[in-house]
């Protein structure tokens, strides 16, 4: 992808979200020095005061796109970067701000939150648009979901990238980690866990404490929403609650898949 003659140039960018993924990078205390020495970090909104975007080999992009200004910036980042990684559930799937996206018109929801005196063009941060994940606008080369991301998931991809190796994706659902943690399935006990349709990476923290997965790592690539809905119905979850559960962190992917299933 790039020669190893120069240190790879990395940029960390943030859009709409809680900035937790950038914070997670800053919190990698043991690795932080190496992180800043093995690559040349040219842009890191949260960690640097001097910032410039010229060309980056690797762009790590957090957050969903919520304004026209952000969209322009994203397109610029895409143009100036070789490999773009979506960081966290918001960037990968739209995140919690995507919730109810298809329920009512954007204008109506906007009015409900901000009242009728404020227009969406008035925002100083740019004209508001319906929240979307990065992949709905630009090509995303790799996704690292997480809420926030886990360093064990990011680092193997990041270190491959700075060595110029294309990372292989191998998605798995929460269930895989859940079994490896030594849990049996909560669904068998009538607890409405949606782990089978959610990306792994968290180490099945919630199911390991007998709490059902709520899906904060976003949809699993091979998620079978039809079968998941049937199972939830079988254990007594009504359809409306089931759909709300699946859409909570499901973003645009869950929305699309569920639309197909309901049809």
């Amino acid at each position: 992808m790039w020669t190893s003659e120069h240190k790879p140039v990395v940029g960390v960018f943030g859009f709409s979200g809680c900035a937790g993924d950038q914070l997670r990078l800053v919190h990698m205390e043991d690795e932080l020095v190496t992180l800043f020495t093995t690559a040349e970090i040219k842009f890191f909104h949260m960690a640097q005061s001097h910032q410039e975007v010229d060309h980056v080999d690797i762009a790590l992009v957090e957050g969903s796109i919520n304004t026209k200004k952000q969209l322009e910036e994203l397109k610029e980042i895409r143009e100036k970067s070789t490999f773009l990684v979506a960081l966290g559930t918001c960037a990968c799937f739209g995140g919690i701000q995507y919730l109810n996206e298809k329920d009512k018109a954007f204008e109506e929801r906007f009015k409900h939150v901000y009242g009728s005196n404020i227009k969406k063009e008035d925002f100083t941060v740019g004209e508001a648009i319906p929240p979307q994940p990065l992949c709905n606008f630009v090509k995303v080369d790799a996704m690292v979901p997480g809420c926030p991301i886990e360093k064990d998931n990011l680092l193997p991809i990041y270190t491959k990238l700075i060595k110029g190796i294309k990372p292989q994706k191998y998605p798995a659902p929460v269930c895989v980690e859940c079994k490896l943690e030594g849990n049996d399935c909560l669904l068998l006990h009538g607890i409405p866990c949606i782990g089978p349709v959610v990306s792994a990476g968290c180490g099945a923290i919630c199911p390991s404490h007998n709490l059902p997965c709520v899906g904060c790592w976003g949809p699993y690539e091979a998620a079978n929403y039809k079968s998941m809905l049937d199972k939830l119905e079988e254990i007594g979850v009504d359809k409306e609650t089931a759909l709300r559960k699946l859409k909570l962190f499901g973003g645009s992917k869950a929305e699309e898949e569920l639309e197909k299933v309901i049809k």
């Binding site: 690795e31 190496t34 992180l35 093995t38 680092l155 193997p156 270190t159 491959k160 700075i162 060595k163 190796i165 994706k169 191998y170 998605p171 798995a172 659902p173 269930c175 895989v176 079994k179 490896l180 030594g182 849990n183 049996d184 399935c185 669904l187 068998l188 006990h189 782990g195 089978p196 349709v197 007998n210 699993y220 690539e221 091979a222 998620a223 079978n224 039809k226 079968s227 998941m228 049937d230 199972k231």
Partner: protein
């Protein structure tokens, strides 16, 4: 095979003896199920259980482990240390599963990581009673005559202790006063009555021996497979809990200093997407049905063809743990049901 009698009142002493010999693992109740865990407190041990979530495979092919370390000077294998791990409470199906794994990992090509872990392992089996999900009479794995070091059959007042290896015999010999060779006719009668009672407790039988031909003949009948493909969550549970499933993925992790690499192996499942992706990014099995077909063809057809037995030991784990009811029982039954012909088929 030597057989001894161990009185029940001496059993705690036997357990302490095992603890002296190595790290003792055994079945304990954890949350909603049973699991082989390290035993520090003997009172936590329970033998009145049907199946653990994971079988013995976690001792020989752990869920995730490091196999090699690379740096600029070269590479080094990461072979586990010499230590004795004693697992007590394994059922006949678990031991049969271990025999299947041994065939695969210690055949012509010996896997050094498996070999070391296997050498470190001492298996003390324990008798069991079946529940409605147990299928081991159908797979011919309800009884076991080798593959263990010691095997305990629990009867009214005593255990019959079957010796399966020299390691097992050494354990007996190191505390001979606990064991007696005097097994009288009444003891034998008690054992055979128990055995008969156990045989009569099995509720499920599936004629697996016909499966290779049936699967071969229905292989292209997509509607039969699709009914399961449409339901499958691709969650990997069946493979992870199956005591004979042993596929692993290998990942080279470059450390953050970018100069060292650690190679890791982790348990994998053929029901996951991208399992069958090859170089050049071609995916042989992009959909769930195709992946399930691989799973069941491998277990119930190909394996019988190669080794004369299915890669299923009838432990009932898939039957118990698949959240959507796809398992060797429902799949085999669906195939048998599908071939119930409307016209009468005469016996020739």
């Amino acid at each position: 095979m030597k057989t001894y009698k161990l009185m029940k009142e001496d059993f705690p002493q036997f357990l302490s003896l095992l603890q002296e010999k190595g790290n003792l693992y055994g079945p304990v109740k954890s949350k909603n199920h049973y699991s082989f865990e390290k035993i520090d407190d003997l009172s936590k041990l329970t033998f009145n259980y049907t199946r653990t979530l994971m079988g013995l495979k976690k001792f020989v092919t752990p869920p995730r482990y490091k196999v090699k370390h690379f740096d600029k000077s070269g590479s080094e294998d990461i072979i586990p240390e010499n230590e004795t791990n004693i697992v007590i409470g394994a059922h006949p199906c678990d031991i049969h599963a271990m025999k299947i794994l041994d065939k695969l990992f210690l055949g012509q090509i010996k896997d050094p990581y498996y070999k070391k872990r296997r050498e470190n392992l001492v298996i003390v089996g324990h008798s069991c009673m079946p529940d409605e999900n147990c299928l081991c009479t159908s797979t011919g794995t309800d009884m076991v005559s080798d593959g263990f070091d010691l095997f305990l059959t629990e009867l009214q007042d005593f255990y019959l202790v079957w010796v399966g290896s020299s390691k097992g015999l050494f354990i007996i010999m190191s505390s001979e006063d606990l064991f007696s060779e005097k097994i009288d006719m009444c003891d034998i009668a008690e054992y055979t009555t128990w055995q008969e009672n156990r045989q009569n407790s099995f509720k499920t039988t599936i004629p697996f021996h016909l499966m290779p031909d049936i699967i071969h003949l229905i292989y292209e009948k997509d509607e039969l497979w699709n009914q399961f493909g449409e339901k499958c969550l691709s969650c990997g549970t069946c493979s992870l809990v199956c005591p004979t499933c042993n596929c692993f993925n290998v990942e080279d992790k470059i450390l953050i200093n970018a100069d060292e690499v650690v190679r890791e192996r982790m348990l994998d499942s053929c029901t996951l997407p991208y399992y069958s992706v090859v170089a050049g990014d071609h995916d042989f099995r992009p959909d769930r049905t195709k992946r399930l077909k691989l799973y069941y063809t491998h277990k119930l057809k190909e394996y019988i063809g190669k080794w004369g037995q299915p890669a299923c030991v009838g432990c009932g784990r898939c039957v118990t743990y698949c959240p959507v009811g796809i398992n060797v029982k429902t799949v085999s039954n669906a195939f048998y049901e599908a071939i119930q012909c409307v016209r009468e088929v005469k016996k020739i």
